[in-house]
Structures are given as structure tokens and as C-alpha cells.
Symmetry: C2
Subunit: 506 residues, 2 copies
């Protein structure tokens, strides 16, 4: 029996994927559970990652003419009642504000007082309240297009939560645009999906499949829902961004009308699109290994940590001077329009120091000891390689080559993830094979199994529902690049015009 | 009688300052009231200003080692009960969440359901919930200093609201730091106040007085509260940022303890500091004139608007080409580490176009017509000068000189505000003069009156309370630069060690 390799994270992905995830989050010091049920505290290392994601996305939005705005946290109950009229058996998990004061109770303690005439709901999305503003902002075709985005917190009461993936409060952006024509709104829907795909692939190094949702998986009220889907290392799909073409439905519900150039009044055409802190969960599950998270350089909170090593007290001054000098040179280096972010960790805590940075996933670790200084070189380790693999590099070469090195790590992460997805994406044409593919060997404690299946589907909601019920497998999307191809539905055998992607999903 | 000058804003500042403010906000298209009582919608032009303020402040924070994090929106009631124990007759205006679901009621409509075992409060500040995290994050002197900031929304139920100045929901940042020694915490308190003062003076062009609050005006629980105070054009003071040294009080309440280098356990020393969207209200009231807001260039949403003028259809193509060409050249120009932000407004709406930009306060308006193009020059108007004052400038000179021009506007706004404050800051030594100074001629509808008074105060809370009750005048601060000087209290005549600043305030 092979000796078990020591890993920083216990359990490993294979042993217990879901527990591995929780342990990676904890070990990376990115976030923690809060005393408020279902809410998380995003710690500096996790929040810096979010800031970098946010900045990248925000820049891309602005390049296309989008501007940011801010709408109230609270939604009047009556706004949701309008929506509820259209939804049978409406029940919404959300935080309801009923009072506006706390007072000392008769037996000590505090009690809610000042009951509100109309309860307020903490926004689960700002759709209705933004619609209300838009109905006032838009009156003529000259006011269009209106391209608005909001960065904010939203709340959806969740019973079973997992940090970053499903929490009662999370951070996100929601874009809402208004157009004079269907064509323009449809084009915008696609444009924003492309931005999400660019963010995922170019910045997060997460390969995604672009496609559209089936009618039953569409956002309620949408005419068309586009999405990007990524494969996690447990081979489940994670939806990493959606963009909706809402036709005139939302404009009709919110009263967004405009006078066209012919002076006739029309309902406008709208889109909405969003991405959230869930992306961080996706990033962890795409790149993390059994030693912790791996940060893609383009969004890493820091790019490189310098680890001075001075075993004797008299070496310390020289080592620190060399280290700080190197840090200055690196901080003066530009990497994709930002300066390199450099940490110096001079704590005297032995091997725990290096491991901490491995678990945090910093792309590069650089050891600097007296012998390296004598040779004017540094000892470099890449987070995407085994932790023992370290290379001695001449200092100048390291500084001049660091951006290429980071780009190489970025590329390597992407291609590893793309290879993984390729290895676990299969084409299946028979029902038994399909069912077998999605059935774990161990039903009690399912091992990592399944993947993405390219299969035919007759376009009926019944077949879709049947597969979902039997296997918890859904159609993730109808990929844009799925060619027309005659086939037989994997479920009922009736004719199908093209293959779709089936998978289990988060 | 002189002919009344036409102004874009009605009423003028002199006629009705408070109504003028509301009209300036409306005319600038920065924000609007929302259907939710007391909450505002920050529109793109207002939000872009906030983003610039936020970015400037955030960069300064990070330069001092502060990192951002995010804490939950909700605070368990029990956290506030701890606080309430120390506050007599505790009553807090805040939004209380009591339910976590909406369901269809028996008579239609939605009703709150799923009552929470413990109500949650929407954060009026995150102090207690951050304290809870800190008590877990800090255990050794090696964990210190801990320097955390949060950008977020907070809610304080307000009965009488005014956009940006007092709203039930507002955006802010709250910084919280933990230190091993009192000295270090005290130094950090001052350092953060300096950052707020720099933001106000260098970016917002708002001159401020730095000082400390009297014990009765201190933040509850603080050992020392430092503040910056600015004078608005109605001569009232606006507090534009505060920084608190909390001693060990907050650490004791939250259980933030650490093991020092001698392995003894101690309570830590903490600070907190904050600034909010209120700053925008202060900016409007400092620089706005009777034609609307004036944006200081360093934080302006846009720096310059190009206004092509083509009276005949056949001129249009050439004018637009010239305009777009100029816009490109300007956008390639750097102004204080950011590229110039340039608008092109080619709407054919006559004089309303120019006035819209005046009301929005854009620093520079540039008209481009066929005759200007023939002379290769542009027609430039500065927002800080009378609106008719326009200068023809050679195009190349305009491009090469624009950053100096913007700096000049920035400087001019600052010195105008400083002159105004100087003109309305007086030294008063007699009680009657003091009372007269703060008493309007028209008690029914007070005209703009008063200002800052440098007067002696005996340091008794009674005299402070008396003046507040009689005149609604408070001690804004004990200025850092107030020299030791023997005098007699303006209220009771007893000895006083130095002058303080009295004023009416927002
Ligand atoms: Zn079928
Ligand atoms: Zn006195």
C-alpha cells in the first residue's frame, strides 16, 4: 500500500468533497460563519479577492456605457404583492421588517416597538424598486438606452447555508437596462453574458460553457435566460453568471413606457444580469487542491510573499534589507494595469509560515536566506506546482520575469481546469448509460462521480422533470455552440434537434 | 431697485436656504426620494461622485495598512441588549426584522410569516458585531495591530429626513482598529482624522477645522472623539468625519483580549472612525451657488463636457468629427492618477443643454462650432465663474493646459470657501454680543445669520447645555490650534483656559 501523502487540508477532495470545501475556506482565512444564522463574515483575504473581482467587472461594465447607482435596501410589501398576484402559492423566504424601534421591555431586555403601517422587505433583489424608479426616469426614446448597475448586499432567507455558495446575505451586482427595441435589448443580454464569460475565463481562470436555459429553468418573467456554467472538481456544474432578456414583461409590470420618435407610446424592452460572491465559491472549487485554495494571479489578493530566512540574529539585518529592497522593485512592477501586490512575512514561526501562505493560495512564495543573497538569487515556489518544487532564480531575472511567470500560472490554472472538464464531459446516447453515469457506486456516501453529459433532449418539460426527479440532474444549458443534429431524446426517444448539457448542479 | 439676476435654482440661497438645497439636489440629478419613507435613490451622477470619494478615501486607508472586510447586515437583539444595560432609558430608532417569510394571507395580500425566535436589527453601525469577530481574531500581541474597514449601508430610522444629510438608510465606511498600547491607538485616531481632513481639503475643496469634541458631545463609550468641522453657506457647521479613541472600553465590552509579550492577558486598545454620504450634502452646501452644485475637479463625476454646435445639417459631420477627436485627446490625458472623464452632449435641445450641465456642476463646458473649428479653437466656460464668462482658447493650448485649469478651479473653490469661513468667524468675549450674533432678525423665517464664534468656555457641561438650550448653538470642537489663553467663560464668566468654536450645526 502506497504511503499516504501529507496534505494541508483534511479531509482531501476524494475523501469528503463538501467537508474539504469548508476546511479550505477556514484554512485560507477568507471567511467565517457569523453569530447571525446563515450570514458570513468576509475576512480581509476573502474581501480583497472580492474587491479585485468587483473592480475587473466594474471596469468592463463601464466600458460598455453602464453607470452605477444605488437603490434602497427596503422594498415596500405592496411592491411584492404586485408580483405575488402572478405567482401561485407565493411564499418567499426573506427578511421582513415590522418595527422601527427598540425599547426596554417591562422585564428588562429589549422589545420591538413602533410597528410599521406597512411591513418592509429587505431586498432579495432590487428588481421592483428599480422598476419603480425607471418608470419615472424614462419618458422619451431620448432617455434610452438606460444602463444601470448596482453593487449591494441582498438577503434571501436560507435554511441550509454554505459559505460563499449559499448564504442568507450575500454581495452581488445587479444590472438593469432599458431599450427602445427588442433587438437592442437582445444584443445587450448577449454582451453582458460575454463580460461574465470573460471575467470567468480571463480573470478567474475558470472555463465556462455559454448557453441558454430551457424554459423551465428560466428566470421567472424572462423571455430568455443566458448563462455560463462551469465544472467544479466534484464534477457538478456551477452557474457563474446569468443575463436575462425580459422582453416587455418587466416594463409592463413596472410601467416603463416611452414615447418613440413617432410620438407613440410604447412599453420598453429590458434586460437584467447579475453575479455574486458565489463566484468565490466557484473559484475555490475549480482550483483548490488538497493543500488549500489556489488564487489565479489576475484576481489574487496578493501576488507574491517574500519569506526572509535568518537563522542567526546577526544575519537578520542583511536579509531584511535585501528583502525590502526586492519588495520595492516588485511593487514598482506593473502587472495588467495594477502594481504587483507584495507581502513580506518575517514572523519567526518555522515551517508553519510557508504552509499558511500555501493554504491562502498566494501564487508565488519566495524564500530569501543568506546563501541566496550571497549568490544574488532567490528561491521561488509556484502555488500551482507541488509544494516541494522550488527553483533558485537570479534576483534580476526573477524581477524581470515575474509578470510572465504569473501569466504562466494563470494559463496553467485555466488549462488544468479545461482539461478536467474535458476529461469528465461525455456524449451519451442510451438511457441506461445516462442513468449509470449519474449513479454513484456508494449511495450512502456518494463518491465523486458523473460530469457533464452531452445528450439529446426532445424539448419537453416532462422529460426534463423526469430526469431531475430520478437523478437530481438538470439541463444546465443549451450551449450556443451545439450544432443542429438529429437525434433521439435520452429520456423518451422522441426526435431531438440538438444536444444539451446535463449535470448535477450547485 | 436692481433688476433681479436670473438664476437656474429657485429659490436662491438667501431666499430659502433649505429649499434651495432640495432644489439643487433635484436639478443636479444626483438623487431622489424613494417610495420607502426616509430612503433615497442615489442616481448615477450622485453615485459617481460617491465612487470617487470612496476610491480616494480607500486608497488613503490602504496606504496606512488598513484592509477591508465585510460583516453581516443583521445584529442579534442580544448584542444590543448588552449595550442597553449601560444606557438609561434606552430607545433606539432602528429597523427590526421579526419574520423570515412572506405568505399569501387569507384575504389575499401578503403577510409576514415564520416568526424569528430572536428579532434581528438592521445595523445602525457594526460596532457590536465587529467586536464579536475581533474577540475571536485577536489572541496574541502578534495579531496586533488589527486594522479593518468596512464599506456598507446602515439604517437609522429617521422621522425628518433630508437627502444626503439625514436619511434612514445611508452609505458609509466604518473603520475599527485594535492595538496593544494606548499610545498606538491614540496615534491611529489622529492619523485617521488627518486622512479625513485631507479628503475634505484636497479632494472636496472643503476647508475644515480639526479638533476634539467636549465630553458631552463625545461618541458614547469613547475616551476621546476627534472631528473635522466645516462651515456651510448658511454659516452652520457640518461635521465631516469623526475618529474615536475608545480606550479599553470597547475591548472590555466585546471581550477583545490579547496575551502580551510577557504572556500576561490584557484588554486591547481600540479606535473607530467613519464618514458617510453626508459628505455629499456638505460638498453641495459648501460650493453650490444659485445655479446649482459645483463639482470640485478632484472628485467630479466628469471633468468636462463637449457641446458641439451645428446650426446647419451640413456642418454636423465636421463638428462631430472635431469633437470626437478632441474627446480622444482629452481622455488620453492624466489628471491626478486618473484619466480625464469627458462627456459629449450632442442633443439638439437649445440652451437647455448648457444649463443642464451648469446645474450638474461639471467643472468645464466646451462649445465647439464651425467658427471655432475654422480658428482651431474652442470656447471654454468654467463652472466656478459667472455662466456668461467664456473664453476662446486654441485647441492645443486647451488640451495641454486642461489639468492646470482644473487645478485652478479646485484651488479657487477651496479659497472661496476658506474666505467665506474667515468672513463669518468671529471672536466674541461678551455674553450679549454672543447671543445677538446667533439671533436672527426674523424669528419666524430666520435669515442666514451667525457663523463660527471663537469664545471662552469654562469647561462645565452646564454652560454648554445652557447655550444649547437658549440658542441651539453647540461647541463644535476644541480646535487643535487653539492656544492656551486665560479668559472668562462666555456663559458664566468663570475662568477658561482656551477658546472653543461655537456654532449652530447640522
Ligand atoms: Zn423526451
Ligand atoms: Zn461657564
Amino acid at each position: 500500500m502506497a504511503k499516504k501523502i501529507q496534505t494541508a487540508i483534511t479531509p482531501t477532495r476524494t475523501e469528503d468533497y463538501s467537508e474539504w470545501y469548508q476546511q479550505v475556506v477556514r484554512a485560507s482565512d477568507m471567511a467565517e460563519h457569523s453569530p447571525v444564522r446563515g450570514c458570513m463574515v468576509i475576512k480581509p483575504w476573502g474581501y480583497a479577492l472580492w474587491e479585485n473581482i468587483q473592480r475587473s467587472l466594474d471596469d468592463m461594465f463601464k466600458e460598455t456605457g453602464v453607470t452605477n447607482a444605488y437603490f434602497p435596501l427596503f422594498i415596500p410589501l405592496s411592491f411584492l404583492e404586485k408580483e405575488a398576484e402572478h405567482v401561485e402559492g407565493f411564499a418567499k423566504e426573506c427578511a421582513v421588517v415590522t418595527h422601527h424601534r427598540l425599547e426596554q421591555g417591562p422585564e428588562g431586555g429589549l422589545v420591538p416597538a413602533g410597528k410599521l403601517a406597512e411591513p418592509l422587505v429587505v431586498r432579495p433583489t432590487s428588481e421592483t424598486i428599480i422598476g419603480d424608479s425607471f418608470s419615472r426616469w424614462v419618458s422619451s426614446y431620448r432617455d434610452l438606452p438606460l444602463l444601470i448597475n448596482q453593487w449591494c448586499n441582498v438577503v434571501r432567507w436560507e435554511m441550509r447555508t454554505r459559505i460563499f455558495l449559499r448564504t442568507s446575505e450575500f454581495l452581488w451586482q445587479e444590472g438593469h437596462t432599458v431599450h427602445a427595441t427588442a433587438e437592442e435589448a437582445i444584443a445587450r443580454t448577449g454582451q453582458m453574458l460575454d463580460i461574465y464569460a470573460d471575467l470567468a475565463e480571463e480573470y478567474l481562470a475558470v472555463p465556462v460553457i455559454r448557453g441558454r436555459k430551457t424554459p423551465s429553468e428560466r428566470f421567472p418573467g424572462a423571455v430568455d435566460t443566458l448563462c455560463i456554467e462551469a465544472m467544479m472538481q466534484d464534477r457538478k456544474a456551477l452557474q457563474a453568471g446569468t443575463s436575462h432578456f425580459l422582453g416587455q414583461n418587466f416594463a409592463t409590470a413596472s410601467g416603463i413606457k416611452f414615447q418613440n420618435a413617432q410620438e407613440a407610446e410604447e412599453y420598453a424592452w429590458t434586460t437584467s444580469w447579475g453575479a455574486s460572491t458565489r463566484l468565490i465559491g466557484g473559484l475555490i472549487m475549480t482550483h483548490g487542491d488538497d493543500d488549500g485554495i489556489i488564487m489565479p494571479p489576475r484576481v489574487a489578493p496578493s501576488h507574491v510573499v517574500l519569506l526572509p530566512i535568518a537563522r542567526k540574529a546577526e544575519e537578520r539585518a542583511a536579509v531584511m534589507e535585501y528583502t525590502e529592497n526586492l519588495a520595492r522593485a516588485l511593487r514598482d512592477t506593473w502587472y495588467h494595469h495594477t502594481r504587483l501586490r507584495v507581502e513580506i512575512d518575517d514572523r519567526d514561526i518555522g515551517g508553519a509560515r510557508g504552509w499558511e501562505w500555501i493554504k491562502k493560495g498566494i501564487p508565488l512564495r519566495v524564500e530569501i536566506g543568506p546563501r541566496d543573497i550571497a549568490a544574488n538569487s532567490v528561491f521561488v515556489a509556484r502555488r500551482d506546482k507541488p509544494h516541494r518544487e522550488k527553483t533558485s532564480v537570479r534576483r534580476d531575472q526573477f524581477v524581470s520575469g515575474i509578470t510572465a511567470l504569473l501569466d504562466d500560472i494563470q494559463k496553467n490554472l485555466f488549462s488544468r481546469a479545461a482539461d478536467y472538464r474535458k476529461a469528465h464531459t461525455v456524449t451519451i446516447d442510451d438511457r441506461d448509460g445516462f442513468y449509470a453515469f449519474f449513479t454513484p457506486e456508494n449511495a450512502e456516501k456518494p463518491e465523486i462521480h458523473g460530469g457533464f453529459v452531452r445528450a439529446h433532449w426532445c424539448e419537453s418539460a416532462e422529460c426534463e422533470a423526469k430526469i431531475k426527479e430520478d437523478l437530481q440532474v438538470t439541463i444546465r444549458c443549451i450551449p450556443f455552440d451545439s450544432p443542429d443534429e438529429d437525434g433521439r431524446c435520452i429520456c423518451c426517444g422522441k426526435p431531438s434537434p440538438r444536444r444539451v448539457i446535463f449535470a448535477k448542479a450547485y
